[in-house]
């Protein structure tokens, strides 16, 4: 039985698509058949982050409207076995998503995949609601910043009231908190909310803390999911998060400020 995981946040620009790409890639690397579905109709980004933008022929909306079948729309990743992408339409808007249409596509995908990662658009309108409605698990992505945390809180409320599981009185959606763009140094200077602060407000189990990293921008622009940059701090942090998602236990890294060694202090490394 496939697990449907929605990557959501409420606020825009906090790293949902980066996270969807990294987590989806990580799951596929772990041997799980995984598809990442771009729900951000009209603002197609996932294909860029995944580096498959030149291979998009049909999209999610075409499949919903039965203008194409799933095989035609799914894009197979060239690097990782077991990884597919279902891109969004750039020319349509969110109204193209209907509950029945989305359900049918997800049911078809569920027959072929172990994990379906839904990359939600920002906001709390139709697109975001469609992305979270059928979810079994949710990765709530939040920056260590008050407005992002409040929007995440809003989305968590919707997960527990507006989702299929809530409406049908099933087991609630499993919630995971992923904090992105975390800078321990700025937490120590009081510019940024700490992991504890965020946890105190949201009270959701922590899946991972991704440090603020140059590697993320570099990965986005080169179309390589950052988790493939296994030397980078962000790549390692995402790998830890994937491992935790699969039930492994991992120490939290990159949440303490690094002590500078003598040499780097002298030479300003």
């Amino acid at each position: 039985m496939a697990r449907i995981i929605v990557v959501t946040s409420g606020k825009g620009g906090v790293g949902k698509t980066t996270t969807s790409a990294a987590i989806g890639t990580g799951l596929a690397q772990a041997g799980k058949k995984t598809v990442i579905v771009d729900f951000d109709i009209g603002l197609r980004n996932l294909d860029l982050i995944m580096g498959c933008e030149r291979r998009v022929v049909y999209d999610f909306v075409n499949v919903i409207n039965e203008e194409a079948n799933l095989n035609q729309a799914l894009i197979k990743d060239k690097r990782i076995e077991n990884l597919y992408i279902l891109p969004a339409s750039q020319t349509r808007d969110k109204d193209a998503l209907t509950k029945e249409g989305v359900e049918k596509v997800l049911n078809d995908l569920a027959e072929r995949f172990d994990y379906i990662v839904c990359d939600s658009p920002a906001g709390i309108e139709k697109g975001a609601m469609m992305a979270l409605y059928f979810a079994d698990e949710a990765i709530i992505t939040s920056n260590p910043e008050v407005s992002s945390v409040r929007d995440s809180d809003r989305i968590i409320g919707m997960l527990s009231s507006k989702s299929r599981r809530a409406e049908q009185g099933l087991e609630p959606i499993v919630e995971h908190l992923l904090i992105t763009r975390y800078s321990p140094k700025r937490v120590n200077t009081g510019d940024m909310l700490s992991v504890e602060d965020i946890n105190d407000i949201l009270a959701v189990k922590l899946l991972g803390v991704i440090p603020e990293s140059q590697a993320v921008l570099k990965a986005s622009n080169s179309g390589e999911p950052v988790i493939l940059d296994s030397e980078s701090d962000a790549g390692m942090a995402y790998q830890d998060a994937v491992d935790r998602l699969l039930g492994e236990s991992r120490e939290f890294r990159f949440i303490q400020e690094e002590k500078k060694g003598l040499l780097s202090r002298i030479f300003g490394g």
Binding site: D153, R154, M158, S160, I201, A203
Partner: protein, 262 residues
């Protein structure tokens, strides 16, 4: 709304009058309750009464000045000079209303002739102890007039878990208990009181239909807004009062009063 509520700080309360209403064209005669001092005396020695009373008054002159007083002569065997007693009481700035505890009709008659009302206490003094010359305050009786509200449904709405930003909960005609936190941007409203067993970071509106006795309780006060019967305070003005502490909010004289619960 509750009716006529009397607060008793000190001394004894005596109830006078029954509750009968009589409306005339331009006057209205009706019975009601007042708080009065009762002075118990054990003999008719005016000078010792005056002396003891003077000592009493010196302890709190402002409090006793002009206070209405009733003399209880139940324990007094002597014949009393009511005119003289009246003067003694007046000299200590009390206003003598009447006597109570009179056993015989002759005594009652004497009191009436001295211009004093003869009262029958609803509850006779039960003090058995040897009575000193003057003894004040024995018992307290409080009468509160309350309109009983009949409610068909349980009077409390329970919510288990955190109330998230954007969520709103209204406990109509009920108290509201949140077992969890109320996030910033969430709103809890009750016609009765609100209890939050967690952080109160959002808005809490108690007594939404005007129950002035409703209150707000929380384990940690960080609210955006608190309101009882439309009297509200914003987080800006809450910063000095129990901020981030366990607190209760009540309404006193149309002012929100915030008290620490720690």
């Amino acid at each position: 709304m509750t009716g006529n509520r009397q607060l008793i700080d000190l001394a004894e309360l005596l109830l006078i009058g029954n509750r009968h209403h009589m409306a005339e064209n331009n006057i209205e005669l009706k019975g009601t309750n007042f708080t009065l001092f009762v002075l118990n005396i054990s003999d008719g020695n005016l000078s010792s009464i005056q002396h003891a009373l003077q000592q009493k008054v010196q302890q709190a002159p402002a409090f006793f000045s002009g206070a209405p007083v009733v003399i209880n002569i139940e324990k007094c065997e002597d014949e009393i000079d009511f005119m003289g007693l009246s003067e003694v009481i007046k000299s200590q700035q009390f206003v003598l209303v009447g006597i109570t505890g009179a056993q015989s009709n002759a005594v009652k008659q004497a009191a009436r002739q001295a211009g004093l009302a003869v009262l029958t206490s609803g509850q006779a003094s039960q003090a058995e102890t040897p009575v000193p010359v003057v003894e004040a305050k024995v018992e307290t009786r409080i009468e509160t007039q309350v309109e009983i509200q009949h409610q068909d449904s349980p009077a409390t709405l329970f919510h288990q878990g955190q109330l998230r930003s954007g969520q709103q909960l209204y406990a109509k005609d009920k108290n509201l208990v949140i077992i969890g936190s109320v996030s910033a941007g969430a709103e809890v409203i009750a016609d009765g009181s609100i209890h939050v067993y967690g952080h109160l970071r959002g808005r809490a509106i108690a007594g939404a239909k005007g129950d002035i006795n409703s209150r707000i309780f929380c384990r940690n006060l960080e609210a955006e807004l608190i309101s009882i019967c439309g009297n509200y305070k914003l987080s800006e003005t809450l910063q000095e009062e129990c901020w981030q502490h366990a607190a209760t909010v009540s309404l006193e004289n149309d002012q929100l009063k915030i008290s620490n619960l720690d």
